[in-house]
Assembly symmetry: C2
Homo-oligomer: 216 residues x 2
DNA sequence: CTCCAAGTTAAACAACTGTTTCAAACATTA
DNA sequence: TAATGTTTGAAACAGTTGTTTAACTTGGAG
């Protein structure tokens, strides 16, 4: 049974090439030739290039969401949850899941691409499949930052999402600079340790005076 | 003299389409047909699609850097510069420059695409042409956050760069959500007002205990 | 007016894209 | 062993891509 082998090899290669060059810039021929499988294999096993992209994401996000949902269920039973506690759980799940492959940075790069690259279908896919988990998280976040206006919290979530995704997705380049300029061999765990106090402080920053809402 | 007219129309259309769909997903035919210009005009006036992309950026960044450099020169003469002061200058220049066109959000989206979309040549172009201005900025930032270890500052700069670029590049989608969920008509100026305290707090967050540097 | 460079146009170029086809090879069950 | 359904293989499909060519139009200087 060579099937699973072909599927896995396509997924591995596609993941690497997508992260390296982007979705539109990576052709099926580039994937299949490097993976040493036939060109038609992608359409046979996945149906289309779109579906392949989604499958690459699902391989990361499905196990992540499963673990994260379990942790969220525990937190939801508690009477109150601190911001540090919630972020620590998020960080732990993010690190632990792809530990088998050790390529968290690759996945973060993909996530960044999915959001910024104008692949509308990816945003829709992520929303449909993982929106509910995200909602559970934001509900807990609301409890742990109750004094923050809803709109303010909304924007800050995306500021911090950007900080994480952007840094992680450029990780290799930044790590090289950090090494040559500051003699620092930054591991993912170090980066998370750096991120936690920054994100916490950002979420707790003073709220600016209400901007006067003008029409248009 | 229809030349300048053609060039400007190409730039305007390309800018809009790039922001809307991304670089790779926007064909020269899509640009030229919407701009009501002949297909060959792009290669005639700009040389290649790559050069057109760079020209779209230069139209924003050249005037921005000119103004920003002037402001930086003023700050460099002062004996000390506060973090708020420096960030406020950055925000002011960012807002003021494209005021004539009112499409700062378009440019921000382009900037986000340039960094996240794996167009290697764009990163190189930005570094080569505007790296020195960025260096002047980071030097002042070092003065205004002298108690921060260099490596820590380095990472935080990129955290915050990510927050800005990522948010801006998804701006339209986020703005729609903010409008429907919080009845908020977010203007760019509002967003900058929200960003300033967050970035300030993030840069001033407590430094985590030195991560033990292990080999590998 | 003449002439020349600058700009525009339509057409064709070669290369590449995702997808489909159908015969061959394979593994599995009866 | 024979029959079955699944997986691979090479080739072709129809469409799009960025770029180039060469003929054509135009505006202004000599």
């Amino acid at each position: 049974m060579a099937q699973s082998d072909t599927v896995v090899r396509i997924l591995d290669t596609a993941e690497a090439l997508f992260a390296e060059k982007g979705f539109a810039e990576t052709s099926l021929r580039a994937i299949t030739s490097r993976a040493k499988v036939n060109l038609a294999a992608v359409n046979y096993h996945f149906g289309s290039k779109k579906a392949l992209i989604q499958a690459v994401f699902a391989r990361y996000l499905d196990p992540f969401c499963e673990e994260f949902n379990q942790e969220l269920a525990i937190l939801e039973k508690k009477s109150e949850v601190s911001l540090e506690e919630l972020l620590e759980v998020l960080a732990r799940c993010t690190i632990s899941v792809p530990a088998t492959k050790g390529s968290l940075s690759v996945f973060m790069r993909l996530l960044g691409l999915a959001y910024t690259q104008a692949q509308g279908h990816m945003r829709r896919y992520l929303q449909e499949h993982y929106g509910q988990t995200f909602l559970r998280f934001t509900n807990l976040l609301k409890l742990s930052s109750a004094d923050l206006p809803d709109a303010e919290r909304f924007w800050r979530i995306h500021f911090m999402l950007g900080a994480v995704v952007f840094t992680m997705s450029s990780l290799d380049a930044l790590r090289d600079i950090a090494l040559s300029d500051y003699d620092e061999k930054t591991r993912i765990a170090d980066l998370v340790a750096r991120l936690l106090p920054v994100v916490t402080a950002a979420m707790q920053a003073p709220v600016p005076e209400q901007p006067e809402l003008v029409k248009q």
